[in-house]
């Protein structure tokens, strides 16, 4: 299992369900610091599963550099053309209600599921 864990956040991939879970608070200082997470996401995309679930229901905070990282992931999936993507968000976490729709604007076929 691929996993990145610190005091502030935990990101992990569950191969059985092709799901990546992001939990905690992600406020890293820029793309270089986000690189390990971006690599984990890239690795999942490179496996070319028929479906990827990005579960953000435990992600309390994300800064704009993190939004940029997630949008890069969505654009990469979009280029593959064959991967159906589901993003799971939580209406109880205010930033998600405001900003997750932007991922769908990048890839209209992306499914947003709300808890």
């Amino acid at each position: 299992m691929m996993e990145i864990k610190t005091d502030d956040y935990r990101i992990w991939y569950e191969p059985d369900t092709n799901a990546v879970y992001c939990q905690g608070s992600l406020r890293l200082s820029g793309m270089a610091e986000y690189a390990p997470i971006a690599e984990l996401l890239d690795e999942v995309v490179d496996r070319e599963p028929s479906q990827i679930v990005l579960d953000l229901q435990g992600l309390e905070f994300l800064n704009s550099s993190g939004i940029s990282m997630l949008s890069k992931f969505v654009i990469k999936v979009r280029h593959k053309k064959t991967i159906h993507t589901i993003v799971r968000g939580s209406k109880a976490i205010p930033w998600q209600g405001k900003s997750l729709k932007n991922l769908q604007r990048l890839m209209p076929s992306l499914t947003l599921e709300w808890e």
Binding site: R27, G30, M31, N63, S64, I67, S68, K72, W95, K98
Partner: protein
């Protein structure tokens, strides 16, 4: 000399309800104090909720409180991240963030020094920002970031505030010292609540 960009206004500097946090930029290396941005932002957001009381019997008031808390936390964190990233490292000019409470709006002000050689590029970006359609420019910026592996700055903070939080932004550049020249930029964010 003072230069203004966007919808800058001073709010009410004598507003009776405000909170200011100040930082001395050179005391600890940036990497070590990065976490402090989030802590300060969350503190401001927590502090503010005492003025927007939610009642458990009233789900709408609880939702509103959570929305305001989330917005303050996001905006204050982005402003502090920018101030820390772009302030002039050779200057000892302090970084400050102020939050003013007004009926129906919150106002944020961050002030930091800026290296004089970076001013022109930053102002060029601001000119583009204040005349754009934020939603359209936001998506364009995401696409651009995806192509640019080397970029260190996502340039999404202000756009997210404008496009997702309906905030109004403005900037004030001032020369606060001559020889050596020290310039500061104050970023204002006005958030309807």
């Amino acid at each position: 000399m003072t230069q203004i960009f966007g919808d800058y206004n001073e709010g009410q500097p004598d507003s009776p309800e405000f909170l200011i946090i100040g930082f001395s930029p050179s005391s600890v290396p940036l990497k070590q104090r990065w976490r402090n941005n989030g802590l300060s932002a969350d503190f401001m957001a927590d502090y503010l909720t005492t003025f927007f009381l939610g009642s458990e019997d009233n789900p709408a008031s609880m939702r509103r409180q959570a929305e305001i808390k989330g917005a303050v936390s996001f905006i204050a964190n982005e402003l502090l991240e920018n101030a820390m990233k772009f302030s002039d490292e050779t200057s000892s000019y302090p970084i400050s963030i102020q939050l003013q409470l007004h009926p129906e709006r919150l106002m944020f002000f961050t002030t930091n020094s800026i290296p004089t050689q970076k001013v022109k590029e930053f102002q060029g970006y601001l000119e583009e920002l204040v005349s754009c359609d934020p939603e359209e420019m936001y998506v364009r910026q995401l696409e651009k970031n995806a192509l640019d592996e080397m970029s260190t700055s996502s340039r999404l903070g202000y756009l997210t505030m404008m496009s997702d939080y309906m905030a109004r932004l403005g900037w004030k550049f001032e020369t606060v010292q001559k020889e050596p020249e020290v310039m500061t930029v104050t970023t204002m964010v006005e958030l309807p609540v």
